[in-house]
């Protein structure tokens, strides 16, 4: 880390954190709305429609409702762990946005270990899910938490392997440098060089963010709501926001690593970055409303039997090519 800690840089980070919080909040609303509209259109119904024109304020109304609701804690739940879990799920995610390069200028904290930072802080999420499941003293919650831990731990490995392949290739862990080395045209992006790593990353990201078809920690037809069975009001709201925030981070990292970040065929800028992130998010929603859920052992099998060996092979191949 070469940045000397000055007042300026601290101010920059604080401002960035505020900006990120606003960004995450707004995106939470937007994505909830988008998710429901996508579901509606895929299922040939209008989706949210009544609150505001085309139901655009539905997410706001929902958020207000969640904020206004009483926070209920089950009688025998552990108060500390129970309330810590949603906080722990949500706030560390904000940090993950700091190193993301939205554009060459729009970066919260341009550190040369940005990738590492994201991967390190992403681990907090699983802790939060574990605490939520354990702390709520609910059997479904416990099963969900157990699933969450096994799933997160497993899927972090292929994720890392995919990321490592890019890091090998680029020789840096700074996200903005990774974008900088990619060209403007789609065939100059890393996805053209590393399609396998991209696929592994995408699937692992679905697993890491507990999105369908890998939404096993909360699989509602099996575990009612899994780890957040007992949460109401904003307790649930925080998990909800954290899930969407995690999705944005995962898609952002994917954009940076594989899709050329802020670069595009014309007019480079943050809007290219956002367009790619939202396209990936839409794809994630598309998956959710199309596929059935996998079974837990299949989820782990997919990881250990397919993604992990493929990731290692890919890494070896990358290393071999780089050596040449």
């Amino acid at each position: 880390m070469n940045a000397t800690i000055s007042f300026d840089s601290v101010l920059h980070v604080v401002l960035a954190l505020v900006g990120v919080a606003v960004f995450v909040g707004l995106n939470g609303l937007l994505l909830v709305y988008a998710e429901r509209k996508v579901a509606g259109f895929i299922q040939r119904r209008p989706g949210p429609y009544e609150v505001g024109p085309q139901g655009i304020l539905q997410a706001v109304a929902d958020a207000l409702k969640l904020i206004g609701k009483q926070l209920v804690r089950p009688d025998r739940a552990d108060p500390l762990l129970f309330w810590m879990a949603p906080v722990l799920a949500f706030f560390p995610v904000l940090l993950l946005f700091l190193p993301l390069p939205f554009s060459p200028l729009l970066t919260g904290w341009d550190v040369n270990l940005g990738l590492l930072l994201i991967l390190a802080f992403a681990g907090f999420n699983v802790l939060a899910l574990l605490l939520a499941g354990w702390g709520s003293n609910n059997k479904y919650g416990l099963l969900g938490a157990a699933r969450a831990v096994a799933q997160s731990v497993a899927y972090e490995i292929p994720l890392l392997l995919a990321v490592l392949a890019i890091a090998f290739q680029e020789g840096t862990l700074s996200l903005s440098s990774i974008v900088a080395t990619q060209g403007s045209m789609p065939w100059q992006w890393n996805i053209a060089v590393q399609p396998l790593a991209f696929l592994i990353f995408l699937i692992s990201a679905l697993g890491e963010t507990n999105r369908a078809p890998f939404d096993l920690p909360e699989a509602e037809s099996e575990l009612t709501a899994g780890f957040h069975t007992e949460y109401s009001g904003m307790g649930f709201g925080m998990f909800f926001l954290a899930e969407y925030a995690n999705m944005i981070v995962a898609c952002s990292v994917c954009t940076v690593l594989f899709l050329g970040g802020w670069k595009g065929p014309f007019l480079d800028g943050a809007w290219w970055f956002l367009a790619k992130v939202y396209a990936l998010l839409l794809a994630m929603m598309w998956f959710r409303w199309t596929f059935p859920r996998v079974r837990f052992d299949q989820l782990l099998n997919l990881n250990w039997r397919w993604l992990l060996p493929l990731g290692v092979l890919n890494l070896l191949a990358t290393a071999f090519v780089m050596k040449l």
Binding site: V38, R44, R45, W289, T290
Partner: protein, 211 residues
């Protein structure tokens, strides 16, 4: 090795699925958006909604019902309650005749109660819409309405005074065919435009005016 290829082929099914949902995404919705769009009248026509009384051809505000009570006994849920209309008050001449008859020690000839219901209440909250009453009615005085969008906020909303309902409906129908013309100064006073009249008010819609 073969299994690897098969797995890859299997994964194609996921792409096919995505293509289908993607295609459906672009097609227009199919839901009927209720307050803005309603089920077509043709579609509602065959719907068996809460039962209603059917009026006489000549006097649509008066039911064909002869208060035979067959529907009351046929109903599996006991949701129909009918009482006979009371006998009309004897006219002065009849009163005189009765008094004379009594004086003679004969059985006086009192005016017979009309073959018509005095009250006709129906509790839709108990009804299972089986149609037993419609089928047993000897004078075809009961039919299904096709009221699809009926709502209520309390149980009492679904206890209907059918005579009042019939009168309201008849009045509404009377007003309908000539909307341009000034509504006839209601032939019957109870046919006044009171669409949400309370049952008790319109209960007087069919006083035993036969006598």
């Amino acid at each position: 090795m073969a299994s690897i290829f098969r797995t890859i082929a299997d994964l194609w099914s996921l792409v096919v699925g995505l293509a289908i949902t993607g295609k459906e995404f672009c097609r227009p919705g199919v839901t009927v958006h209720y307050p803005r769009a309603e089920v077509t009248p043709e579609s509602a026509a065959s719907f068996r909604g809460p039962i209603e009384l059917i009026g006489l051809d000549k006097e649509p505000a008066k039911p064909r019902c002869i208060a035979c009570m067959l529907c009351v006994s046929a109903c599996p849920s006991g949701c129909i309650a009918v009482t006979r209309a009371p006998a009309p008050k004897p006219t002065p001449e009849e009163l005189k005749a009765i008094a004379e008859a009594e004086a003679r020690g004969e059985k006086p000839k009192r005016p017979a109660p009309p073959k018509a219901p005095g009250t006709w209440t129906y509790d839709f909250s108990l009804c299972s819409l089986c149609g037993s009453c419609v089928e047993v009615c000897p004078v075809d005085s009961i039919g299904f309405s096709n009221d699809i969008y009926m709502v209520g906020t309390k149980r009492e909303d679904f206890v209907f005074d059918q005579l009042a309902r019939l009168a309201r409906k008849a009045a509404a129908r009377k007003a309908e065919p000539k909307p341009a013309a000034k509504p006839a100064p209601s032939a019957a006073p109870e046919a006044a435009p009171a669409p949400a009249a309370s049952p008790s008010e319109t209960g007087a819609a069919t006083p035993a005016s036969e006598a």
